[in-house]
Symmetry: C2
Subunit: 319 residues, 2 copies
C-alpha cells in the first residue's frame, strides 16, 4: 500500500461522488483558539462520507460479481450509501436491517432502491441473515467499515482536505466502526509529513479508546449515545491501521456533543448529525492543547431527523 | 439611478461582507421541476442579507455623522446587522428594542456591541424612542428597509447572483419591509434583460400582495406567521420600486413555509430561517408555472432558535 493506491481510488470514485467544500468560520476559530477547517461530508451524496467507501467497494468488483449484487447489514448511513452507490452503477443492493429499524431509515433505503431484508434485532441475527443472502443470491458481502476497499474510499475525504489545506497539524475524525479514521490515517500518512490524526469518541461507547490502550479490539457494554453512527466497534482490517497511525483518541461527554452540534448549526448554518459533532467536540475539549494549530475536522454526515432534535432536551445540556 | 450606482455600492461594501455561495441541489430540482439557484445569505456575516444594507448605510455617512453614531428600531436581523456593521467601522449603534423582546435577541445585539435602548412594545413607542435618541445623541436614524442606501445594499445579493448565473428567468425573494425585494428588483433591472422578480409572502401578513393590487401601501391586521422577519410593511422609498419592477407576489400558507424549510434543511443540509423558506415555498406552490425555468431563490438568513423549531409541531403540518 502506498499513496498511488489512494490516488487510484480517488480517480475511480470521482465521477460518482461530490467533491465537498472545506469551510472555515472566524467565530468558531475565536471560540476555540484553533484554526479550523471543516471538511463537509454532510454535503456528500446521500449526506455522508460513507458514499465514498461504498462506491469504491462496488467499483472494485468484477463484472460477474456486480451482476449478482451486493449485500450488507446496516441500519445507518452505510445502508443508504450502498443502496445509492449500487443504484448509480446499475447493481442490486440487498440491505439487511433489523425489523424494528425506524421507518424513516427504511424509507431512505427504499428511496435509493435498496432491497430491504428484515431480521431480528441482534448482531448475530443480522450477520446470519447477511450470510444467507450472500449464499442464496451470490451477492458480495460488503462490510460498512471493516473492508479494505471501503477504508480506502473513506480516506479520500482526508486526501481532498489535505490537497486544499496542506498545512494541517492535525485531522480529527469521529470513530465508530473505524473505517473513516483508518482511511484518514492512511491519507495523512501518504499526503502529509507532519499531520497527525486524532479521533473523537463518546465516553459511553469508548471501545476504540480502550482498544488502543489494551492493544486488542474491545467492545461496548452499552449503545447509549446520541451519536448513533458511533455505536459499532473496530475490526481486524481497520484496527491495525488505527493502532499504527492514529495519534490519540479523545473522549467526549454527551453534553459536549450536543453543544458542539449546536455551535456548528448556529454559527456555521449547516446541518450536521450528532456523530459528526463528536470530532469538533473533541477539539473543543482539548483546545488548550491545540492552541493556534491548524486542524481539519471531518464533518462526517448530515442525516438527522429534524422532527427529533436534541436541542430542546434541556436536561441533557444540564448534566 | 443606474447600474453604476449599484456597482459603486458593491465595491464600497465588499471589504466588509462575505460573497456568499450560490448552491444548487439535484434533489430539489427534481422535486420542483425547476432549475434552482439558491443565493445563500444565511452564510452572510451575522447570518442575514441585512448586513449588506446596514454596511452601505453607515459607509454613506460623513465622518462627522459616523462620529455621532447610528440608531434604528428593530428586534430582528437588522438590529444585529447594524450593530455588527457599526462595530466593524468603529461607529456606535443605538438599537431601540421593545422591553419584552426575547433575551436571545438582546444577547445577539450585545454580542455585536450594539447599545440597547428599551421601549414599550408598540410601533409608536419605538418610533418615538428612536427619534428621542436621534435628537439627544445626534445619531443618524437608519430605517431597516425604507432607506435608499439600505435598499441598494440589499440589491447587491441579487447582483452577485446574476453575475454567477446570468441566465436566470426569475429571482424570488421574500417580502417583509420591502428593502430586499426592492433592491433585488433594481439589480434584476440593471444586470439582466429578461429576469423577472417575484416575491414570496405569507398569507397571514400579505400586505405587499394587497398593496400591489390597490396601488397604495396596505397594512396587516395580524403578525401571526412563523416567518417573523416578514411581519413588517412597505414604505414610501421601496414601494414605488416594487410597484414598478416586481412582476408578481405569491402568497403561501404557514404549512407550506414549514414544509419548504424542512426540505431545504433535510436535502441541502443548510440551516435557514422561516422567512427564507417563504421564497422557496412560493416557487414550489407555483411550480407548474415555473417548469424548467432557471430561478434564483434568495435565502435571506439563517438565524433560528434551535431550541424552538417548528418541525415537531405536527399540528402545523396537518393543516
Amino acid at each position: 500500500m502506498n499513496k498511488e493506491v489512494l490516488i487510484q481510488v480517488h480517480n475511480r470514485i470521482k465521477p460518482f461522488i461530490h467533491k465537498t467544500p472545506v469551510l472555515a468560520s472566524h467565530l468558531l476559530d475565536e471560540i476555540s483558539g484553533v484554526n479550523l477547517y471543516f471538511k463537509c461530508e454532510n454535503f456528500q451524496k446521500m449526506g455522508a462520507f460513507k458514499m465514498r467507501g461504498a462506491t469504491n467497494a462496488i467499483l472494485c468488483l468484477s463484472e460477474e460479481e456486480r451482476h449478482k449484487g451486493v449485500v450488507t447489514h446496516s441500519s445507518g448511513n452505510f445502508a443508504q450509501a450502498l443502496s445509492l452507490a449500487a443504484k448509480q452503477l446499475g447493481v442490486k443492493a440487498f440491505i439487511v436491517m433489523p425489523e424494528n429499524a425506524p421507518q424513516v431509515k427504511k424509507d431512505a433505503v427504499k428511496g435509493y432502491q435498496g432491497i430491504i431484508i428484515e431480521c431480528e434485532s441482534t448482531p448475530i441475527a443480522r450477520e446470519e441473515m447477511a450470510e444467507k443472502v450472500r449464499l442464496e443470491k451470490g451477492a458480495t458481502f460488503i462490510h460498512p467499515s471493516n473492508d479494505d476497499n471501503v477504508i480506502h474510499g473513506q480516506g479520500t475525504a482526508a486526501m481532498e482536505l489535505l490537497e486544499e489545506q496542506p498545512n494541517l497539524d492535525y485531522i480529527c475524525s469521529p470513530v465508530g466502526g473505524g473505517g473513516l479514521i483508518a482511511g484518514t490515517a492512511l491519507a495523512a500518512k501518504y499526503f502529509s509529513n507532519t499531520c497527525k490524526v486524532i479521533g473523537g469518541e463518546p465516553y459511553n461507547v469508548d471501545d476504540a479508546y480502550r482498544s488502543l490502550k489494551s492493544g486488542k479490539i474491545e467492545f461496548n457494554e452499552t449503545t447509549d449515545t446520541i451519536a448513533d453512527g458511533l455505536r459499532t466497534f473496530l475490526g481486524d482490517r481497520n484496527f491495525p491501521i488505527i493502532k499504527a497511525h492514529v495519534h490519540e483518541i479523545i473522549r467526549v461527554e454527551e453534553r459536549e456533543i450536543i453543544q458542539a452540534m449546536k455551535l456548528i448549526w448556529e454559527r456555521m448554518k449547516i446541518v450536521i448529525e450528532p456523530s459528526s459533532a463528536v470530532a469538533f467536540a473533541a477539539v473543543l475539549r482539548e483546545k488548550e492543547q491545540f492552541k493556534q494549530k491548524n486542524i481539519g475536522v471531518i464533518i462526517s454526515g448530515g442525516n438527522v431527523d429534524v422532527n427529533n432534535l436534541p436541542f430542546n432536551h434541556k436536561e441533557m445540556l444540564m448534566v
